[in-house]
Amino acid sequence: MRREAPQKLTDYGPLVFPAGMLITFFVVPFATMIAVSFFKRNPSGFYTPDFVFENYERFLSLFFGKVLGFSLFLAVTVAICCVVLAVPFTYLLSRAKRRTQVLWLVALLSILSLSEVIIGFAWSTLFSRTAGITNLLVMIGILDQPVALNPSFGAVLTAMTYQALPYTVLVLYPALVRLDPTLTEAARTLGASPIKSFFTVVVPALRNTIVATLIMVFIFALGCYLLPQILGRPQHWTLSVLITDQAIYQSNMPFAAAMAVFLVLVTLGLVGLTVYAGRKGEAA
């Protein structure tokens, strides 16, 4: 269908509401944050309007570099774990009976109703020495005595994967349901075992969906700030944790804003790079 370009000012009418929402809830807060990142901190109070780069300068240190590096590494790992778990799971789910599908989807959606705090404390109990899952392993004779599994990197990774998995499945589900089931059947008649046909047909045919899902989970995991504090050691703290710390406990809003702006820029850069690489790969 061909649409005419808007001619009069009133033709833009339908855009007023979404544009207003976007400006009020995205552009204004984000612009405020960028502005604050250049303000000067007032140790006795809050901050005073100014235009200084000291917040960004302070950030350029080995310590913050390491935290940034770890944050990105953690987010990428969570994204990969989620996709590796969710793609086969969702594929099998999409081939299951309607009833089974509904039950699983409802169960997964119910995880979304849990807050990050509840997820964090639930896993910290499960990973504890006194009441944790290692007690079960002792009971069935795999371990000699129960051990504490947190705080540790594994605990942070597990809880974050747990939290992001429902989103991953929900993003993958429509694409996998739409995937023509005769494609895998064709692969099997051509000599591919079910596992081979999954990797040579299902995964490549869904490449774009999988890349999009990786980016989504990556960004989701980057904003996580409670789980690393509850389940990790200080070296497992992410940039989001430090931003929260600076903004809320140290009352250093300008520095927190500078870190947040920097994190957004790095994230945008990485996503842009992934999309660019994907385009190039498609052309080749």
């Binding site: 023509d180 005769t182 494609l183 059947e185 064709a186 692969a187 099997r188 008649t189 051509l190 000599g191 591919a192 075992s193 079910p194 081979k196 046909s197 040579t200 047909v201 490549p204 045919a205 490449r207």
Partner: protein, 344 residues
């Protein structure tokens, strides 16, 4: 023996029996069409041959070897799906080479075979094109080439031409038949189009309600249908009740003296093809009727005659155009040799 043998195949989905006690032998190198209305179990039967569904009971043998429980990917077959199922992320060449790649055939050899197959389907030079840039007929050919890449023992096609327009479909039927004869490959095609089945097959297997109603050569199926379903499903026919009367049978109130009725059969149905119904002047034939409609299609002329409370269709060629008009009284001549006696 060499070829495909199906022994007492049954397939149940829950309480529904999709395929009932099917017995079929497909000699090596023959072309078989599974023909029937939708829901008759023909696709289910083919999926079992392919190993995509497992039979509830019965055995499938290929060249004397029981393959009932052999997984699909070890059966060495080629299958063309109704949706074609070409891989959207691969080029034409990669699609065709897929089965070779899976089997670890070298790159050089893959390329050689792909070029060979592309030449065979008249698409030489298309190897690097994306599948999405092909027309319907070209995709069809690529799907066929992909299925034939490994020179399979069995070539299965599930409603392969249903997505094509009528003209292209007719051309592809001829092409497919010629290809099959050149390669001498055992081929099974599922179709609901009887014209397609008649064009291509050595043996037509007519199915209904999960059972094989008749399996024979196309002409045999047409001339000697086994029952009223087959007679009615294949082409046009007139099904007329008869009663045995000592020497022959009485049909439409008149007697056909020399009609061979099996001993003991008191009544039944005869099937007469419309081209075997001859119209004469009234009084020259035992049965008299009234013309109700004439459909002149140019190539053939169908005359609808009401006789003895039955509607009978006669087909004739333009050069033997019957000189009749609606409302006219005509004689209906049925030759005993053209009548097939069926149990009712």
């Amino acid at each position: 023996m060499s070829g495909l043998t199906l022994q007492n195949i049954v397939k149940q989905f829950g309480t529904f029996t999709a395929v009932k006690n099917v017995e079929l032998t497909v000699p090596h190198g023959t072309f078989v069409c599974l023909l029937g209305p939708s829901g008759c179990g023909k696709t289910t039967l083919m999926r079992m041959v392919a190993g995509l569904d497992l039979p509830t009971s019965g055995a499938i043998k290929l060249d004397g070897k029981d393959i009932t429980n052999v997984p699909t990917h070890k059966r060495d077959l080629g299958m063309v799906f109704q949706s074609l199922a070409l891989f959207p992320h691969l080029t034409v060449g990669e699609n065709i080479a897929y089965s070779l790649r899976i089997r670890g055939v070298g790159k050089e050899e893959q390329k050689k075979r792909v070029d060979e197959l592309l030449a065979m389907i008249h698409l030489a030079g298309y190897a690097d094109r994306p599948v999405s840039k092909l027309s319907g007929g070209q995709r069809q050919r690529v799907a066929i080439a992909r299925a034939l890449a490994i020179s399979p023992k069995l070539f299965l096609l599930d409603e392969p031409l249903s997505a094509l327009d009528a003209k292209l479909r007719e051309a592809m039927q001829v092409e497919l038949r010629q290809l099959q004869q050149r390669l001498g490959i055992t081929t099974i095609v599922v179709t609901h189009d009887q014209r397609e089945a008649m064009t291509m097959a050595d043996t037509v297997v007519v199915m209904n309600g999960g059972e094989i109603r008749q399996a024979a050569a196309p002409v045999e199926i047409y001339r000697r249908p086994a029952d009223t379903f087959v007679a009615d499903f294949i082409g046009m026919t007139n099904l007329i009740d008869f009663k045995a009367d000592g020497t022959g049978a009485s049909v439409l109130g008149a007697s056909i003296p020399s009609l061979a009725v099996p001993a003991g059969l008191k009544s039944g149905i005869i099937s007469v093809r419309p081209e075997d119904v001859h119209l004469t002047a009234p009084g020259n034939a035992p049965v008299t009727g009234t013309v109700t409609f004439v459909r002149d299609l140019g190539g053939t002329i169908e005359t609808f005659v009401e006789a003895g409370g039955k509607q009978i269709v006669a087909v004739s060629m333009p050069n033997a155009r019957p000189d009749v008009s609606v409302g006219q009284s005509v004689g209906v001549q049925l030759n005993p040799s053209d009548c097939v006696v069926l149990k009712s």
